[in-house]
Symmetry: C2
Subunit: 274 residues, 2 copies
Amino acid sequence: MTSPLSGSELSPQAGGRLDVIGLGPGDAALVTPATSAVVADAEIFLGYGPYLDRLTLAPGQRCEASDNREELDRAKAALRLAAEGRRVAVVSGGDPGVFAMAAAVCEAVEAGPAAWRQIEIAVHPGITAALAVAARAGAPLGHDFCVISLSDNLKPWALVEARLRAAAEAGFAMALYNPISRARPWQLGAAFEALGSVLPADVPVIFGRALSRPGERLSVSRIAEATSAAEAFGADMATLVIVGSRETRVIDRPGRPPLVYSPRSAATVAEAAS
Amino acid sequence: MTSPLSGSELSPQAGGRLDVIGLGPGDAALVTPATSAVVADAEIFLGYGPYLDRLTLAPGQRCEASDNREELDRAKAALRLAAEGRRVAVVSGGDPGVFAMAAAVCEAVEAGPAAWRQIEIAVHPGITAALAVAARAGAPLGHDFCVISLSDNLKPWALVEARLRAAAEAGFAMALYNPISRARPWQLGAAFEALGSVLPADVPVIFGRALSRPGERLSVSRIAEATSAAEAFGADMATLVIVGSRETRVIDRPGRPPLVYSPRSAATVAEAAS
C-alpha cells in the first residue's frame, strides 16, 4: 500500500473519543456530574489555559493549553489525537455550544479527513454565562430572549448592529457575550447607542462578572446610562451583559440587591411593530 | 396591636428562604451539585408533579405538587411558606429562568406584601432544553441565537410570529419551547410556515425529546418539510425544536447521526438586510 494518507486519516484507531465539555461560570458546584465524569476519564485536555487551570488532574492525565484565538487549530489537534485512539476532552468555560469549542470541532470535522467523521464525539451541555448571570439577577431572561456575541472578529460590525436592532424592535431581552476587549474598545458603547435608539431610556441593563467565583460582581443600570455604567463596572471580555426588553422590571428590596425579571406574559403586539 | 396584616406579612420569620432550582433535561448527571445541595437541604418542594417525581427525598422533607398552569399561585404559596420561616424549594425542569418558575416568583414578589421583598431568594441555573438538545446535535446554537416560546397562552400569536420572522430575517438560529399541545395544535405548523417564507428550504430543523432520559429521541429535518417531520416525530409539549440560520450546516457521518452546527463566523450582512 502506498496511500499518501496515514492510517488514522483512513479510519480512526479503536478506543479514541472526543468529549467537548464546559466548566460553567467557575464554581465547581456548577459543573454537571456528566462533565466531571469526562474530566475523570479523559487522557488529554485541550483548551484555553485559564479553563484548563480549573481542572484537578490525576497522574497520567495531561493538558495542552493554547491561546483563545486558536480555536480551530485546537479542534484539529484534538481530532487528530482522538483519531489516534486517545480519549480527548476539549474544554470550554460555560457551555461548549455557546460561542465556544463545539462549533469549532464541528467545523474541523467538516473540513478534515473522512476518518474524523467516524470518531466518537460527544458534546456535554454546561451552565452558560447568560443563565448564570440571569439567575443571580432574578429572571431577566424569563421570556423570549436572544444571545449575541458583540465580537466583530468573525462577523462584520454592521451585522452585529443589525441583529441588536432587530432583537430590540421585536421585544427580545438579550444576553451579550464578548462585550469589550483591548482590541475592541468601542463596540459595547456602539451597541448601547444602537439599542438606546430603539428602547425606552429606563430598560434595565445588567453587568455580571466572575459569577460564582471569588470577586463576583453584579450591577444593574439602565440603557440610557449603560455606557458610563459599563466603564464604572470595568466591563471586559469576562463580563456578560443582559439588556432587558420593554417589559423587563426591577423590584427594589430593602437591604438586598434588586430582582430583575421579564414577565411571562406580553400583552400587546405594539412592541413588535415599532 | 390591631394590624390587619399577619406577622409574616410585615417581616419574614427568621430562617426562611426560597431556592428556585431547575433539574435539567432529566438525567441526574445533568443536575448541578449546587442544585443537589438545595434538594438535600430544603424542607418543602413545590412544583409540577412530573418534576417533583424526579426528587429523592429524606424523611422530614415533603412535596406539594400543582398543575403546570398554576405557576403564579405556586410561587405565592412558596413565598408564604418562606415568610413563615420554612426552607422552600420551587422546582422546574431545565433552567428555572427559561420559561419557568423564576419569573413567576419575581412576579409574585412584586405584587405581594412588602415582607416578601425581605425573603432570602436564590435562583440556581440549570441545563435548559435548548442547550441539551443543541449539545446532542453538535453545535446548532454555536453562533447568535434566539429562544422563543411558541405558547400563545400569555402573549398574542401575532407577537410570536413577528418575533419568529424578525429572528429569521436577522440571521439568528433559534430554539422553540412549548411548540405544540392538545390546546394549541396549529401553532407549530404556522411557525414553520412563517419561517419558511423567510428562510431557504434547506435550513436544518432539529426535534429533540426526552434528552438524557429513557426514550430520548433526536431527529434532523429541513424547514421545507418541518411540518410533516414534526408529525412523524410526534412533537409535543416536551419537544424542543431548533431551527438553524442560513449558515447552519449538516455533516453526514457514516454509521453515526449527523452533526449540525452553526459556524462561528458570518461573512456578510446580506442576510440581515433581506
